[in-house]
Symmetry: C3
């Protein structure tokens, strides 16, 4: 199934996935976050656990200067306000000027018109590298009938692969739909990640942490499709290991950070359940 | 002591308490939070641990639309600002229009005039279903001499039962005073909950999590007195179990989320220490 | 090496350090925080773990009234906005009027001009008791060439002791530079704290928690040099113990709160690695 043309500098796509995570540790990329106040602490801890450096800066007085020192930008619209959206656009455009990868997490798009409009505005005014969303958010952004319950996707979408490809083509970016199976597409190839664990639905911020990981991995890997697939697989495997260590959502959450920090490359390869195909 | 007329559809009040928690899991109510930035993460995790879905939305551009999809609203005034209060009132009135239960947590009322005034404004302009406060906050809202130290009640109140009943009658809602013993009153009956653990005073957000649980339980139980009593008993029992698992405030906190997730109904009944009486 | 003139009421400086921590537990000082939304939860939990009471209040409508009830104020500029800076200055001046110790944590000074300017403004308009910073932040405030990467100090500074003394003399306060070794100076004496653990760099908010501990300790100890040194030594020892209990950054973090709560005075003395000298 691994038919996608591989990056020139790697023997095969699997080893490319593993290499990205090591490179984060070595390069310690600085990841600028414009994110919501519910999960900011978790996102920062996820970055530190994998060896990246988080910085949260939201004032329009400083976002351009801060982003100029960063290696990637995360725009997470989890608790949107007028001033946060202005900062997000300003930071995003500065990131574009510096050719940095920008990840958009359109939390709750489809739940309210305000959230949908904000996310679409960012997609129009900023060149997004990776759109990371759940299926309900992605469907809403594509103008399909949305099944959102607050910030959670409701119901089942019959063709998530199709939805993911359509988002990639419509918005001109790598799109990542997360759910029981995660889908990644750049419009030419599709990766399906079967790693993960149901306990991720019982802790807040799992999706936000994945978005941050996509940014950290894209900061050290120019092939954004590879970076996103690696981030999703990495987090899914981490969740599987952490579920064995935790006794419920509280200790599982602590184990997530432990495992993000300590996951060995050999464990990563043994656990990887990823399909990649051309479309 | 269990003399309160019981809800028609339940054999007795104890089984009614147990049933509420199961119903949260089955119905997955969406709980809209307008809350402070200190505990937002904990409140969200508490909701997910019991099977409810949290959503945090604070912009006046979206609170009405978001609350229209929710099954309950929490207004927590822990870090009040002018714009947050406007959003709280707007969301509260929308919740009233949709006949949703609204929980008010007047954090720090009595500590500053601003906090007291904000809480009284919300009580005037929004129909509150449950007022959840510590004794100092409740006394302040009733115009008694307050003994607040920041957001903590200081000193001892000699007649907390009386205070709780007075709040219920004055504000026309179920009132919940939390402390070493928790009191719940709807103006006709009084429940005293003896469950709980002193370590709850060594983690931030315990009170805020209880307020969120009151909302989640009221979202699936029309009898707000039953819902509140069940929420308080549930959280108190969870704290007792978690204290056996944790080695201090840090691991106790992780164990709180584990136990909220896993507490069995049989354990709940064995541990319940609740008195209910007509007043 | 323990050559600094000791406070009159203590047999020696080591026992003075141990005494401060016990006094926090007995006096339960109220510590007003104006802090960032990334670590507010951690700072509050650190305060509760050592027996202090945190309160977060940021509106200009209430900061003066709130600070008048507190025993110390923390100003942490981790996610600065225009309104937060106004509140910080207002609260700081009120704290000065009440002769309360004020701790400034100039997070990210040097990373952007906005952060540097904000921190310098607070230093000009508020009488700061303790300036707690990393080496990059401190160098920036002194007008040296900064090596900041976001909110992390980059590179190595050859003479951190000199930097710390210069900050103390320039800003007329006790200055605390944290890193692999922590330095504390009041311009006359210098303490070097060798306690600590590298895992502190893999959790967010470690620096912010130390700043809060400095405030809690200064709330019960008039000798601000002793209070700061005790806070740094205490947190460093806590980190060493927690590293033995945790399996990675997640469980280490839980263990930090457990150990802040439970560290025995005898353990404290056995583990203390502090040098104090006159300069």
């Amino acid at each position: 199934m691994l038919t996608r043309p591989l990056p020139e500098d790697s023997g095969d796509i699997l080893s490319a996935l593993g290499a990205v995570r090591s490179r984060v540790k070595n390069k310690e990329p600085l990841i600028h976050h414009i994110t919501n106040y519910v999960v900011a602490n978790d996102s920062a801890n996820a970055m530190l656990a994998v060896g990246a450096l988080p910085v949260m800066a939201i004032s329009t007085n400083e976002v351009e200067e801060m982003v100029s020192q960063a290696q990637a930008l995360v725009i997470n619209l989890g608790t949107p306000t007028t001033s946060l959206i202005e900062s997000a656009v300003k930071a995003g455009q500065a990131a574009n000027a510096h050719s940095l990868p920008v990840v958009l997490d359109p939390v709750g798009a489809g739940a309210t018109r305000y959230r949908t409009d904000n996310a679409l505005r960012v997609l129009r005014e900023v060149r997004i590298g990776i759109l990371r969303a759940n299926t309900g958010e992605m469907a809403s952004l594509l103008g399909h009938c949305s099944r959102m319950r607050g910030v959670e996707a409701g119901g089942k979408y019959h063709n998530v692969a199709e939805l993911t490809i359509q988002a990639s083509l419509t918005f001109g970016c790598v799109s990542v739909s997360t759910g029981a199976i995660d889908y990644v597409s750049d419009g030419k190839a599709m990766a399906m990640i079967h790693n993960g664990h149901p306990l991720l639905k019982r802790v807040t911020g799992a999706g936000c942490m994945v978005s941050s990981l996509c940014a950290a991995f894209a900061a050290v890997e120019n092939d954004v499709f590879i970076a996103s697939t690696a981030a999703l697989a990495f987090f899914g495997i981490v969740a599987e290991k952490a579920a064995l260590l935790g006794k419920g959502p509280g200790t599982f959450r602590s184990a997530l950070f432990d495992t993000m920090f300590s996951l060995e490359e050999s464990d990563f390869f043994k656990s990887l359940r990823v399909e990649v195909k051309n479309i």
